[in-house]
């Protein structure tokens, strides 16, 4: 009886599944077809603030630039995916993404460690990925034709940081801590190597996955009394680290890479991080000449300030739409491969400046910034001062 009952349930489930299957209904087959753009970023968990910004930035760009494609008879949609900042979730999502034939471009991810394995999946079908935030060099150094980014690179960002530490802060010794992820450890290593070259003493280099108790790491740091502490990682770990460092009475200057660039840093660490420096491969929207209108639109539509990378996601999505337009000239939904090729040809004057990709998918001329936290009020994150701004071309392919 049991097995009969089970079979009944199974049949019922299957029927339901087929009935509910999206796209199976003939009603949707109007117009020339649907074009979907997917975002992949952490929408839940400790880094959701940044991930949500990427999704909303893409949403805003679609609303603004979908006109031409809609006139041509296509329906344009955003499909957000939550990669939870975890590589396994990102890869599982990307398998779903490549299975949905309507998705012609992916905007994402936030974390390089998630983007690298996920883009291996996109590559199988030559689905273009335009990353707003992945700064690890490996992302584009693999030379995949479908992988691009509108932000800068960690091998440059790390050097920008150490140059600032040596030149402007005039640090004598640095202590480096990282979060053991592809991104955090990567940028920390670039920082370390260049700091050594510049004659700074590297007092320590530590990796940790700890999220709450940094006491045992901070005790040796305090004893060694470095003039600067660099944390290679993301704000949800960096903020409590710096907070506890300051509470322990450590007097060193604090510094971090663009992973620190979120208002949650001051929300968590408060006064401890005022005056802290962070480098960024994505300037604050307020510093970008073309972004004034974007910030206003964003605030009007979503009722909050854009987080860092929202502007990059906006540009990335605009490029994707432009490429799709170019590839859809025949009036048909273009193939993924055509879109990938078209992305590399797009010249876009975006809100983060002129964007053009080189043969690896790096931005020809990327912007780098050093910023300083101005206030312990998270609302005022946008007021952080730019203390240095550079435009640096991506290093050419090595090996």
């Amino acid at each position: 009886m049991n097995s009969k009952y089970l079979r009944g349930v199974l049949v019922l489930c299957l029927t339901l599944a087929v009935a509910l299957l999206p796209g199976a209904s003939p009603l949707q087959a109007q117009g020339k077809g649907t074009i979907k753009i997917a975002t992949q970023s952490p929408l839940s968990g400790g880094q959701a603030a940044l991930g949500e910004g990427i999704k909303l930035g893409a949403q805003l760009a679609i609303d603004k630039f979908k006109g031409n494609l809609e006139k041509a008879g296509f329906k344009v949609e955003l499909v957000p995916f939550d990669d939870q900042a975890k590589p396994d979730v990102g890869v599982a999502n990307s398998k779903n993404i490549i299975a949905d034939k309507d998705i012609l471009a992916v905007i994402g991810h936030l974390n390089s460690g998630v983007a690298i394995p996920s883009s291996e999946v996109y590559k199988e079908v030559n689905l273009t990925m335009i990353s707003p935030a992945n700064t690890n060099p490996t992302v584009t150094d693999r030379g995949y034709p479908n992988v691009n980014r509108v932000c800068g690179r960690d091998d440059v960002q790390g050097v920008v940081g150490s140059e600032f530490a040596a030149g402007t802060v005039k640090a004598k010794s640095v202590y480096i801590v990282h979060d053991k992820t592809t991104y955090g450890q990567g940028v920390a290593e670039f920082f370390r190597d260049d700091a050594k070259k510049k004659g700074l003493t590297v007092a320590g280099f530590e990796g940790t996955e700890e999220k709450s108790n940094f006491d045992p790491i901070l005790t040796p740091i305090k004893a060694k009394n470095p003039s600067l502490i660099y944390f290679g990682g993301i704000y949800d770990q960096g903020a409590p680290f710096f907070k506890q460092a300051s509470e322990k009475g450590i007097k060193a200057k604090f510094m971090g890479p663009d992973g620190m660039d979120s208002s949650d840093l001051t929300k968590i660490a408060g006064k401890a991080v005022v005056g802290m420096y962070y480098t960024s491969a994505a300037g604050p929207a307020s510093a970008l000449a073309g972004a004034k209108g974007f910030v206003d639109d964003f605030k009007k539509k979503f009722g909050k300030n854009p987080e860092p990378y929202a502007a990059e996601a906006y540009d990335a999505t605009a490029i994707a739409l432009k490429a799709i337009e170019a590839a859809a000239k025949g009036g048909k939904v273009p193939s993924r491969e055509d879109v990938s090729t078209a992305v590399r040809k797009v010249k876009h004057k975006g809100i983060t400046g002129e964007i053009e990709f080189d043969s690896k998918g790096d931005r020809q001329k990327a912007l780098y910034f050093v910023l300083q936290v101005a206030s312990d009020n998270p609302e005022k994150w946008g007021d952080n001062k730019i203390v240095k701004q550079l435009t640096i071309a991506a290093p050419s392919a090595k090996k």
Binding site: K211, P216, P220, A223, D236, A239, G249
Partner: protein, 323 residues
């Protein structure tokens, strides 16, 4: 190698380790007491622990937004938050026992274990859901009370913050109170009787169900207090924060001899110290070859060694066969 540095930081590392150890000890009590009476591992205890931390942060945040945080004396705030965390976690533990474990008491030993894992996931996500609707936040931060951050510089390399003293004093008080309760009161005698033999205890007129509920209440309250202290000490909590300390505290309970109350305290302290020393000294001693990230490997290797030579834990509770 820099021997002076190694010696200079020793007292500070010892203090860090003790702090962590006391926290593990408080959490470990919940595991060990439940094991003592039911011979079952309450894997939801790590969420009961972090639930206390969340109740604490909610109270502090509402006091802050009402402007009372500065006006009330900090000791009053502290006692209030600790008691609230204890009450909330204790009641949660009792509810979990009533809903998820008691109906399964006659089932094979593995069944309630699975139920406990389920409860653990359930609580994690309920807390996450609630906080995301209520505050639209994942990470919550304990508001800083300036008094608590005040540090006493004892030597050049050793200082103690008021916060750390609070944690140590509160933990010691609670451990002492629990010890007295279990060993010197009628209720304590009843708990020990139920732990020894449920059937005989009920023949002596002890209401076994009530004593089991009480055990969960006390264990949960200790966990809740640990949660509040954890939040005060390390400031950042999220719904999944409880998992790792919970796992470590469970280990501490096993290390001390699961089912044995002084054992849990000792196990917590030993594990906390091992972890702190490993994290602070590993990279100094190995010249950076093994960094702080190997602290758990070191701590757990020592643990395996101890258990190889003392399989019943440091204080070796005799694991009785069920009568």
């Amino acid at each position: 190698m820099d021997y002076e540095l190694l010696i200079a930081i020793f007292p500070q590392v010892l203090l860090d380790g003790l702090l962590l150890g006391f926290m593990y000890a408080l959490i470990a009590l919940g595991y060990t007491m439940v094991y003592g009476v039911l011979e079952f591992i309450n894997f939801a205890h790590s969420e009961i622990f972090i639930f206390g931390a969340f109740v604490g942060v909610e109270i502090l945040l509402s006091l802050q937004s009402a402007g009372w945080l500065e006006r009330l004396p900090w000791v009053v705030v502290l006692v209030l938050v600790l008691l609230a965390g204890m009450a909330a976690s204790g009641l949660l533990a009792v509810t979990v026992e009533r809903v998820a474990y008691r109906p399964l008491r006659a089932a094979p030993r593995l069944i309630p274990l699975i139920s406990a894992i389920g409860v653990s996931f359930f609580l994690q996500d309920i807390i996450r859901l609630f906080e995301s609707i209520w505050r639209n936040a994942f990470n919550l931060v304990y508001p800083t009370m300036d008094v608590m951050n005040h540090r006493f510089e004892l030597t050049e390399t050793l200082d103690v913050s008021v916060r750390s003293l609070v944690v140590i004093v509160a933990a010691l008080l609670m451990l002492w109170a629990l010890h007295a309760l279990v060993n010197r009161t009628k209720i304590g005698t009843a708990i020990r009787a139920v732990a020894e033999d449920q059937a005989a205890a009920s023949l002596m007129g002890i209401n076994v169900n009530r004593i089991i509920s009480l055990t969960f209440l006390i264990g949960g309250a200790m966990g809740g207090a640990a949660g509040v202290l954890f939040g005060i000490q390390y400031s950042l909590i999220n719904p999944y924060t409880g998992f790792v300390p919970g796992l470590k505290a469970f280990t501490a309970a096993v290390l001390g001899g699961i089912g044995n109350i002084p054992g849990a305290m000792l196990g917590g302290l030993v594990l906390g110290l091992l972890e702190a020393f490993a994290a602070s000294y590993m990279s100094l001693l190995t010249g950076g070859a093994f960094g702080a990230e190997y602290k758990d490997i070191f701590a757990f290797s020592v643990l395996i060694l101890i258990l190889i030579f003392r399989p019943k834990g440091l204080l070796g509770e005799v694991v009785r066969g069920r009568a």
